[in-house]
Structure formats: C-alpha cells, structure tokens
C-alpha cells in the first residue's frame, strides 16, 4: 500500500502509479500480461483520479486483474462481478467501474448477469478475456470453445455450439461493443480508451491466448504474413476495406455480406460504409456473425450509441422524488396512516 499525497499536490499520474505492489502470478507468456500493460498505460490519460477507479472481477485467471492495479479493487465470486459492479455504480455513480472477466466467468456462470448489465446500460466498462478455454481449472471447455474441441472434459470432442461474445453483447443492445486482440497492443489501447470515454455500458472482447491450455487459439489472426487478410479493422463512417494491399472490401449482397476484390469494376463506393453510431443494431449484429473461413474477423468498435444509463436514471428518480416531496421525514412517515392515542387514564381517541 503506497500512500499518496492529497490531490492538489499530486503530479500528473504515470503508468507506474497504476501498478500495485502485488507480484503478478499469471503463467509466463500469458496474454493477460499484455492486457494489464495496456490498461496501466491508458489509465493516466483518462483524466480520472486513481481513487475514483474500481476494478471488479469474478473468478478465473482474468479475475486476478484487480490485485495488480493500484486502484480500488474487488475480486469477488464466480460470474457475479457484473452484478456487484452494478451495485457499486448505482450506489456511487461518480466512480469509474471496470469489470474484468473471461469467457467462462462472463458468459457461462455469469451469463445471466452479463445479459442484464448490458440491457440495463449500467455505466460500467466490461473487458472479457476470451481464450476459449477454462484455464484456472486446468483445461475444460468454455462456452466459446469450438464444436469438436478436445479438452479434458471433452476427450472425444465438444458437442456444444459456441457463443460469440460480440454477437451476445449486440443482441443485448449494449451501447458500446468492441473487439481487440492481446497482441495488437496499440489497437487495444485505442479500444480501451474509447470504452472508457463511452457514457454507458461498454463491452470489450479481447481475443487472448492461453499458452498452457489452449495455445495458439487465435494464431490464424496473428500471423504477420496473413493477418491483414484475416482482420478487418472497423473505422467509423469509412468503407470496410482490408487486405495487405488494402485491395479487398466487404459489400452487401441481398441480406448477406460478401468479400469483394477492389479494382476490375469494384470501387470503394461499392463497399459498405460502417456506422458505429447506428442505433439499429441489426447491421452490427450481421457483421458480428461472420465466421466463414474466407471472411475477415472484424476488430475495433462495432457499436457506440448514446442512451440514458441505468445509474443516472436511478439517481434522477430520487432527485425528482425529493424535488416533489422534499427530503423524506422519518417522523412524517412513521406518524402516518390511521392513528389513535391512548391517554394516561386508558381511554382511546
């Protein structure tokens, strides 16, 4: 615990101010290190005093995160970080509240709470580390593991259809939805900053490598040679162009998306122009569904729309009630309804 001087005398914070005194205990080579580093790097730029930041987590490798941030932190129970964060934000709306979770914690045991924090639009930032495996329990399938996946609990292959976290968040009408990759550090920093700046719930999926139990799960998106052809970086109000030579794009054919090669009669004006502020979530959802081998995986911001937040509405109802009725008087409340008095001589009136 490092005591700090009062706010007025404090110099501008640095990355080091957000590093706690706890030894980081993830496996060497884990993708979580990168996420922690990017988070510690962006924090000084957010303009939020360290004491007003709370990291909340559930259970899993990702959930050790709060111990390593020199902010307030609450490492809670499996799947419930989103519910606990809801209570923190509603009770104390001035705080910047972050939930660090994983594919198992956030979408399996905590799937119900995830749905509800997203649809309520509680002003909480959620970062979901997706490594498509249960790491802390040593290698069982997760809700994002692919069909047929061999794991300790599925020795002859998974018979479950996986969930797509971004599709889930968009379907729940989260007001901010994005995807980043543990190895794309500069891009991740941008996405995390955007999430922090968003007023309302922010859901960020980070494709993260578990080098012990599911090594290489995202390698097809990381190979330097091919990643430009395998990823499309969403840019607001820009056409969906990708490829090493920026020679490919995405266009709509009927109600399906297709990849088109630029040139030979196809120009950027034929491509879809992405608008992350579109309130109708249908198109963002369509884009999130893509899983064809020849189709690039979208990263970046899928959705960033403005809507009233749950915590703000809760506080507003209280302010309105107080403006209308005045601050509650306990005496008036207790001495209300039909009452009678028993006098000292025993008679009632």
């Amino acid at each position: 615990m490092t005591p700090t001087a009062p706010p007025a005398a404090r110099p501008a914070p640095t990355r080091q101010d957000f590093v706690s005194d706890q030894e980081v205990r993830w496996c060497p080579g884990c993708g979580d290190y990168s996420i922690l580093a990017q988070m510690q790097k962006i924090m000084p730029d957010l303009g939020i005093a360290r004491e007003n930041i709370v990291f909340v987590s559930g259970i899993g490798c990702s959930s050790r995160f709060p111990y390593y941030m020199n902010t307030y932190g609450f490492h809670t129970i499996h799947g419930r970080a989103t519910a606990i964060a809801t209570g923190i934000k509603c009770a104390h709306p001035e705080l910047s509240v972050w939930v660090m979770t994983g594919d198992g914690d956030g979408l399996s045991i905590g799937g119900n709470h995830m749905l509800h924090i997203l649809r309520r639009n509680v002003d909480v930032k959620i970062v979901l580390f997706n490594n498509r495996i249960y790491g802390l329990t040593k290698g069982q399938l997760s809700p994002t593991s692919e069909l047929g996946k061999i794991t300790k609990s599925t020795p002859v292959g998974s018979i479950e259809h996986p969930i797509n976290p971004v599709s889930f968040a968009i379907a729940a009408e989260a007001t901010f939805v994005a995807r980043a990759i543990d190895s794309e550090t500069a891009h991740m920093q941008e996405v995390l900053k955007r999430a922090a700046a968003h007023k309302g719930v922010a859901f960020v999926e980070i494709l993260q490598n578990c080098n012990i139990f599911n090594d290489g799960a995202w390698d097809s998106l990381k190979d330097r040679e091919v990643k430009s052809d395998r990823l499309v970086n969403l840019q607001n109000r820009k056409p969906l162009v990708f490829g090493k030579n920026r020679d490919k794009g995405i266009r709509l054919n009927g109600y399906k998306l297709e990849v088109a090669s630029l040139g030979a009669g196809v120009s950027e004006s034929d491509l879809l122009v992405y608008d992350e502020t579109e309130t109708d979530s249908s198109f963002a959802f369509l884009l999130s569904r893509e899983g064809r081998p020849d189709f690039p995986v979208p990263i970046g911001v899928f959705r960033d729309v403005v809507a009233p937040t749950y915590d703000e509405l809760m506080s507003r109802q209280i302010a309105q009630a107080q403006a209308k009725k005045g601050p509650g008087s306990l005496e008036d409340l207790i001495y209300s309804g039909m009452r009678w008095t028993v006098k000292a001589n025993g008679t009632s009136v």
């Binding site: 111990y67 129970i77 519910a83 209570g87 104390h92 209280i318 601050p327 409340l333």
Partner: protein
C-alpha cells in the same frame, strides 16, 4: 365470562366479553383481506388490543368457489394485552361453501358460523365438494349457525344505485362487515372514511359501499336473528400514539430509520419472492428518503449488487425467502470474507424447495446460522412480533455496520403479514448509528481491526491514498493481501469467529418471564413469541411456576443464556421446525433440551404450547 348490560344507543342488550376471535373467509377475489383490515382498524379505534393473521392462497385467482381459492383473515381482540391472533375462532364468517369447508375444522366447539346463505346453491356446493347443503342437513348442529341472505339483502339495499348489477354485488363484503360491526359494537366511521378515500374518483362507488356497510349494520340491529350483541372493553394499553402495523411495514420503516440514524443511504436489492416482495414494493415508494431499490435479475444478483453498494458505502439490504436465501449463500460468504456490512432479511416460508410459499415456518434457522461453505460465521437476529420488526431492523443495520459483517434478520410469513397495534416511538430516543469511512492514509491497512469489535475499517472507493484490493481469497492478517499461509488461515478463521462472538457484548441482558430458576423454562425465538408467552401466562395464572425467555439474538447467543438454561431442570424449545434452535442450544451448551415442533405451515396455538407445558410439569 359474559355479563349483560344495556347499551345506551342500541335497542338490544350488550354482553361484555373479554376476548373475541373472528375469522373472515371467502373467495380470494371477495375482498376478504380488505374486510379484515377494516375490521382491524375499527377495532384499534375501539381501543382493544389485537392481533391479526391473514392467510391467503398462493394462486392469484383460483377458480371462484373452489377450495384452493379460499382466503382467510383472522383477528383476535381483547380488553387485555394479547400476543396472538387467537387460537380457535369464536366466529367464522364464511362467504361461500368452500370457505366453510376449509375453515370449519378450526372453529371452537359451540362457535358461531355466519354464512352468506345465497352462495350455498348447487354449483358452489359441488365446487366445495358438498353432496348435501350443510345449512340444511343438520351437520352443523354443534355450532350456532346464522345463515343470512347477504347477496339478496345487499342487492335490495342498493336498488337505487346507478352501478351495474355486478358492481353492486361486489359491495356485499361491506354489507357482511356491517353485520359484524353491529354484532361486536365497532365504530363505522373509520371504514366510511376509508371507502370515501378509496373510491374518491367515483361518488357512486362511495355511496354504494357506504350504503352496504350501513345497511348490514342496520339489518343486524333490527333483525330477530340477533338477540344481543357483544362488547369488548378498551384494553389498558400504555399511553401514547398508536397505529396498527404489519411486520413488513414495520421492517421497512426500521430500515429507513436505520439509514437516517446512520446518515448513510439505503440500498435494497431484491428479486420478487413470496412473502418478501412487499418490502421491495414499499421501499420503492420511498425514493425521497434517498432509498435506492434494485429489482435484480435473480436472487444472486440481488445480494451481489447489495454487496457492491455496501462496498461503495451504502447500507446494503437484500430481502428474500428461503429458496432465495439458499441462492444467496455463496455471496454472503464473500461478504464474510471481505468483511462488509450486509443485512439479509429472510421472510421464512414452509419448505423445502418451493414448499408452501404463502404458509409460515421457521425452518431456515440452520441455513442462516451455518448454511455456507467454510467456517463462515454471521449474526442472526429474529424479531418477536410484527411491531418488533421496526427495532430489529435498526438493530440488524447497527450490528452489520459496527462489526462489518452480514446479519440475517429472520422473520416469517406470519410476522410479515400479521399485525398488531404499535406504540409509535419517540424518534429522539433512537440511538444514532456511528458510521466512519475515514482512515489515516499513512497507517491505513484494510484488515487492521478495531481492538474492541475486531471490525476492519469501512473505507469506500473515492478516498484518495487509501486504494486497496479485497476479495474472496483468504487474507493476510492486517494487510489483507492474498495469503495461502496455513497458520494465517487458521488465525483468520478464528478472528472471524471471535468477531461474531463479540457481538454478544451488544446484546442486552436476557429478560426472564417468571422465576430465574426452577422446573421448566421455555425458550422461544421469532414469531412464536406470542403463543409461547401467552401459554406461560396462562399456566402461571393457574399457579404453576414456569418461566420463559425469548431470543432476539441467535448468533451469537446472549452472554447470560447458558447460566439461565442451567438454572432450570427442563428446557423446552417450541419452534415451527423439527428442532433447529434446540440443536444449536445443545451444541453450544451441551444441555438436554426438549422440543415442541410443528410444521404445518401455521403458527402455534396457545393451547398447543400450554398442553406441552402441562405434560412436562
């Protein structure tokens, strides 16, 4: 018991009785609960002491006239200080055959049955499973049967009302109520005022319902069916201002009072569940008190959001009933480990599983006391009566904050829905609840304990220089860092246990009703107070030396309890379960303890407890 005198304002003689118990019964859509509540209010105005118990079906609208659709409301009133809604009713008011069939077995020998004879037609008799009309086949000869054609009389009284036939017919519960008001000499005015207020938007409805009430009253006064009526004298209640209150209402007021006494906002997280939902409904109206209510997606989210709010500096309260309390267990363990204040209200109902949601029971005591993984001690409290829910809600919040611990507040369906007169407290007499979120940044450690209470500091996010991390992993003593050290773990387990034991220093000396030693001591907890206390009063009135104590604090037990128990030859614990407090007392004190146990979804009658006492002495 009854003496005859002449009433000043009525035509018929008045008999003075000391206690009357009436049960209203009818279809759940018949307005039985409204009738019961109005009779209660009129009775409070008449100056009697009283106790009430509603009993309604789980089905929202069971088929009209069916046995599962019967809704009851029982009230007992007296010129003496009473503690229960009465054992067997003296009078059963049955609005249809099903209501008669369901309730007849509870009626005392020679009891009075007032029925709406118009509802005893073939179809209704069949729905209730009667082959012959019980009003005509002589099967009710053991009772005083008073059939009144309430439907027809009500229709006639309202002939001139512009309301539809159906609307006029719905006034008949007030007609019936008018009859009972006359019979027991109740004032009409509180109910006339209630009707004027409730139907303020429709003058025709006001007129019709008021006419029905007055017509019923006048009918009873003039009919030859009743030769006399009854009066219960005013009770000698302590002077003060009173209102009638249910346990739920009192508990909600207590939570709001605690928030004000602590100058700390109240956060109430809950998921709808019978019979606890009314707390959420009532608190949701109190936004101008700064109360934040959160209807969560499930029981787990309800308690977790509440823990979050508590971590962020609110008084966090979550309310539920047994099945919901089961779901909250893991999160309560987190609050034990993180040492955060939390109040869990369990309005117990008959279990296991879904059980009988609208029926009362006390079978979640062990769940609260020990039902979590690990060595996971908490404070367990239980109010004794509906009005006592006010003070115990304040006590729960006070202990939660003072000792930084979860506190279970165990009520039940009977306490929550039952009512009694409440002498309104002098608010200036309520003790402030001390809350501090302060700490010295230079020396702050998250698990540095107060030497007296062993509580850790309640530092809340937002305080500069005090940033700290907590969680459900074992903590190193003082620093709160994660620790797997074996000796540290044992030390922390012992510290958490010792912290809860020290709550005993806040428990006032146990009051013994009767002698401080002797042959037999009854130990009760929660809602059985009324029946147990009344039974002991009765046997003592017969000259027998029997004592009782009532526990409001169950974990930890009061410091003086062991010595009290040892001063009696036999200890009897009556409870609405198979012996859960008995098990805890045996475990704590190693003494033989006898049980009186009932699991029928109903409270004890005084008679049942009295009979057991008489067996033992």
């Amino acid at each position: 018991m009854a003496t005859k005198s002449q009433a000043a304002n009525n035509n018929k003689p008045v008999e003075i009785v000391d206690r009357v118990t009436i049960r209203f019964a009818g279809d759940s859509g018949d307005g039985i609960q409204i009738s019961g509540n109005q009779f209660t209010m009129a009775t409070a105005f008449a100056g009697n002491d009283l106790g009430t118990m509603p009993d309604y079906p789980a089905e929202i609208r069971a088929p009209a006239g069916s046995l599962p659709g019967v809704s009851n409301f029982q009230i007992s009133f007296s010129e003496r200080d009473i503690h229960t809604p009465g054992d067997a009713p003296d009078v059963l008011v049955a609005m249809n055959p099903a209501a008669l069939k369901v309730n007849l077995r509870d009626l005392g020998a020679g009891g009075t049955i007032i029925v709406n004879s118009d509802s005893f037609a073939t179809a209704n008799l069949k729905k209730a499973g009667y082959e012959a009309n019980p009003l005509e086949d002589g099967s009710l000869q053991a009772y005083r049967l008073i059939p009144i054609a309430i439907t027809q009389l009500n229709a006639k009284a309202l002939e001139e009302s512009p309301l539809s036939k159906k609307e006029r017919d719905r006034c008949k519960n007030f007609y019936a109520l008018g009859v009972i008001y006359w019979l027991y000499d109740r004032p009409l005015q509180p109910t006339l005022d209630f009707i004027a207020d409730k139907f303020a938007k429709s003058p025709d409805m006001v007129a019709a319902n008021q006419t029905a009430l007055k017509s019923g009253y006048n009918f009873a006064d003039t009919t030859e069916i009743f030769t006399s009526h009854f009066r219960v004298r005013q009770a000698q209640l302590p002077p003060g201002e009173y209102r009638n209150i249910t346990g739920t209402e009192a508990l909600v007021l207590g939570l709001v009072a605690a928030s004000q006494l602590a100058e700390t906002p109240l956060f109430y997280g809950s998921y709808p569940i019978t019979p606890a939902s009314d707390m959420l409904h009532e608190l949701a109206y109190l936004k101008n008190f700064g109360v934040k209510t959160f209807q969560a997606e499930d029981e787990i989210a309800a308690v977790c959001a509440t823990i979050g709010a508590s971590y962020a500096g609110s008084i966090g309260v979550t309310g539920t009933s047994g099945p919901g309390a089961a779901l909250k267990s893991e999160a309560v363990g987190l609050a034990v480990m993180a040492e955060l204040p939390l109040v869990v209200v369990n309005v117990q109902r008959a279990g296991p599983s879904t059980g009988m949601p609208t029926k009362t029971e006390q079978a979640d005591l062990l769940q609260a006391a020990v039902g979590r993984n690990g060595e996971c001690p908490v404070v367990v409290l239980a109010p004794a009566t509906p009005a006592d829910c006010f003070s115990m809600a304040i006590e729960a919040c006070r202990l939660a904050v003072k000792y930084m611990t979860p506190v279970y507040l165990m009520t039940d369906g009977y306490l929550a829905n039952g009512s009694e007169p409440w002498r309104l407290p002098d608010l200036t007499s309520l003790k402030k609840i001390t809350v501090s979120h302060e700490a010295d940044a230079k020396s702050f450690e998250p698990y540095q304990r107060d030497p007296k209470t062993l509580a850790r500091p309640w530092v809340v996010p937002g305080a500069p220089g005090l940033e700290y991390r907590i969680g459900g992993l074992e903590k190193a003593e003082v620093t709160g860092d994660v620790s797997y050290d074996p000796v540290n773990h044992e030390r922390m387990v012992l510290l958490r246990a010792e912290k809860i034991r020290r709550v005993a220093q806040d428990i006032p000396p146990t009051e013994i009703f009767g002698e401080a030693s002797g042959q037999l001591l009854l130990v009760s907890w929660g809602s059985t107070f009324g029946a147990v206390h009344s039974a002991v009063e009765r046997v003592r009135a017969n000259g027998k030396k029997v004592s009782s104590v009532h526990l409001r604090h169950i974990s930890p037990f009061p410091a003086d309890l062991g010595q009290i128990l040892k001063s009696f030859e036999t200890v009897l614990v009556p409870e609405l379960n198979l012996g859960q407090l008995r098990l805890l007392l045996r475990g704590e004190y190693g003494l033989p303890v006898v049980g009186l146990n009932k699991v029928q979804g109903r409270p004890f009658t005084i008679g049942e407890v009295q009979q057991k006492i008489e067996e033992l002495i």
